[in-house]
C-alpha cells in the first residue's frame, strides 16, 4: 500500500489507493503506447499519479468514465512530455501561422446537438491543444490549475485553448457541422 503518501483524511487516502490500484495498468498501457518503452511508461505513470494526488479533490466518482478519461489525459501529457524531452523537442510546438485574423467566436457556431461526427473532430486536435481544451471545458479547471497539472504557464494555457477552439471551428466548418 502507498503508506508513504500523506493525506488529510482516511477517505482521501483510500480514494487515491483505489484509483491507483484500479487504473495503474490501464495508464501503463496508455503510456507505453506512446513511449514504446516500459520503463519510461512507468516514469510517466508515476509522474501522472503525483499530479492526480495533487488534484484528488477534482475526482468525484473514481468509477466513472469521466474519471477514466481525466486520468488518461494526464498520463498522456506526462508521456508526451517524456517523449519530447528524449527527442529534445520543445513541448510548445508551433505548426500553424497564427497571423491569420482572430476569429469572432460569438459569430461562429453554434449547434444545439452534439453528434458523433463532432466528437471525431475533437479527436483530430493535436494532443497539447486537446488536453488543455478538455481540462477546461469538460473538467472546469482554471488556467492556473491546468498550468499546474501540465507544468506550463497560464499564458501558454490561454494560447493553447484559443488555438484549440479556433481549430475546432475550422474543422467543424470543413465537415459542415456548423
Amino acid at each position: 500500500m502507498l503508506i508513504f503518501l500523506t493525506f488529510s483524511t482516511e477517505f482521501e487516502k483510500s480514494k487515491f489507493e483505489y484509483i491507483y490500484d484500479k487504473y495503474k495498468k490501464l495508464l501503463l498501457y496508455k503510456a507505453n503506447a506512446i513511449l514504446n518503452n516500459y520503463s519510461l511508461a512507468e516514469d510517466a505513470v508515476s509522474e501522472a499519479f503525483i499530479r492526480i494526488y495533487k488534484n484528488l479533490h477534482k475526482i468525484e466518482d473514481p468509477d466513472s468514465g469521466r474519471t477514466a478519461a481525466f486520468l488518461v489525459v494526464i498520463v498522456r501529457n506526462a508521456a508526451i512530455n517524456i517523449l519530447n524531452e528524449n527527442k529534445n523537442i520543445s513541448a510548445y510546438d508551433i505548426e500553424e501561422n497564427d497571423a491569420e485574423s482572430s476569429f469572432d467566436l460569438e459569430e461562429s457556431v453554434i449547434s444545439e446537438n452534439i453528434t458523433d461526427g463532432m466528437l471525431e473532430v475533437v479527436d483530430k486536435l493535436k494532443d497539447e491543444l486537446k488536453t488543455c481544451f478538455l481540462l477546461m471545458y469538460a473538467y472546469d479547471l482554471s488556467y492556473k490549475e491546468i498550468g499546474k497539472i501540465l507544468n506550463i504557464s497560464e499564458s501558454n494555457v490561454a494560447v493553447r485553448i484559443h488555438r484549440a477552439k479556433k481549430k475546432l471551428i475550422e474543422l467543424l466548418r470543413e465537415e459542415n457541422f456548423i
Binding site: 502507498l2 508513504f4 503518501l5 500523506t6 484500479k22 487504473y23 495503474k24 495498468k25 490501464l26 501503463l28 498501457y29 520503463s39 512507468e42 516514469d43 505513470v45 508515476s46 509522474e47 499519479f49 503525483i50 468514465g65 469521466r66 474519471t67 477514466a68 481525466f70 488518461v72 520543445s90 510548445y92 510546438d93 508551433i94 500553424e96 501561422n97 497564427d98 497571423a99 482572430s102 467566436l105 460569438e106 457556431v109 453554434i110 452534439i114 458523433d116 463532432m118 466528437l119 475533437v122 479527436d123 481544451f133 478538455l134 477546461m136 471545458y137 469538460a138 482554471s142 488556467y143 492556473k144 504557464s153 497560464e154 499564458s155 490561454a158 494560447v159 484559443h162 477552439k165 475546432l168
Partner: protein, 198 residues
C-alpha cells in the same frame, strides 16, 4: 481567468463533456479487458521516489525563501555595483535599465548585450536553451498597431503575438512604453520573459 457564459462557451462545454463521456466509456471497457490485478513493484518504487522529491520540494518551498530573502538582502547591498561581461555603452535615455531587466528575467536567462538606437534600448537575451531573444524598449505615445496579430493576456495586460516560419513576435504596451520581443524560435520564451517583466 475570464469566462463568459456565452453560447460558444456553452457549446464547447457540451462538446468537451460529450467527448470525455464517450472516451470514458470506451476506457472502462478497455479497463475491464485488461488484467487489472497484480502488483507493480517497480511502479510503486518510482512513485515513492518521485513523491519523496516532491515532499522535499514542498519543504524547501517554505523554508528556503526565508533564508534566501535574507541572503539576497545581504548580497544586494554588498554587491550594489553589478559585475557583468556584457558590452554596455552609456546612454542617457534608457527606458528600462539593465539592472531591472537582468533581475526580472526568468532563471537561466541572461542579458548578453545592450545596444542603443536613437530612442530605443535593445537587449539581447540568451535563454535557458541558448536561443536568442531580442527585447526592444521604446517610449511611444502612439497607438500600437495590432492588425494581423493574435491577442493574449499576460498578467492582465493585453499582448499581441505573431508566429512565422522565420520568427516569433510578441509585443505589448504599458505606461506609454512599447515592448517588442522577437525570437527565431517559439513563442514560449517571449511569453516567459513578458510574464516576468509585466
Amino acid at each position: 481567468m475570464k469566462r463568459d457564459d456565452n453560447k460558444s462557451n456553452l457549446f464547447f462545454k457540451k462538446l468537451a463533456s460529450a467527448y470525455t463521456e464517450k472516451v470514458g466509456e470506451e476506457l472502462k471497457k478497455e479497463l475491464d479487458s485488461l488484467n487489472s490485478s497484480g502488483n507493480s513493484p517497480s511502479l510503486d518504487a518510482k512513485l515513492k521516489s518521485r513523491l519523496k522529491k516532491s515532499k522535499i520540494k514542498k519543504w524547501s518551498s517554505w523554508m528556503l525563501p526565508v533564508s534566501a530573502c535574507f541572503i539576497i538582502f545581504i548580497v544586494y547591498f554588498a554587491l550594489k555595483q553589478p559585475t557583468y561581461d556584457t558590452n554596455i555603452s552609456e546612454s542617457p535615455s534608457t527606458v528600462l535599465n539593465y539592472e531591472f531587466v537582468a533581475a526580472k528575467l526568468p532563471e537561466n536567462y541572461t542579458v548578453v548585450k545592450v545596444d542603443y538606437d536613437y530612442q530605443k534600448t535593445i537587449y539581447y537575451i540568451s535563454t535557458s536553451k541558448e536561443n536568442e531573444v531580442v527585447l526592444t524598449v521604446e517610449e511611444s505615445e502612439e497607438d500600437m498597431p495590432t492588425e494581423g496579430l493574435n491577442k493574449i493576456q499576460i498578467n492582465d495586460t493585453d499582448a499581441y503575438t505573431m508566429v512565422k516560419d522565420e520568427y516569433s513576435l510578441l509585443k505589448y504596451k504599458k505606461d506609454n512604453v512599447l515592448y517588442t520581443l522577437t525570437s527565431q524560435y517559439d513563442l514560449e520564451d517571449l511569453i516567459r520573459i513578458s510574464e516576468k517583466l509585466i
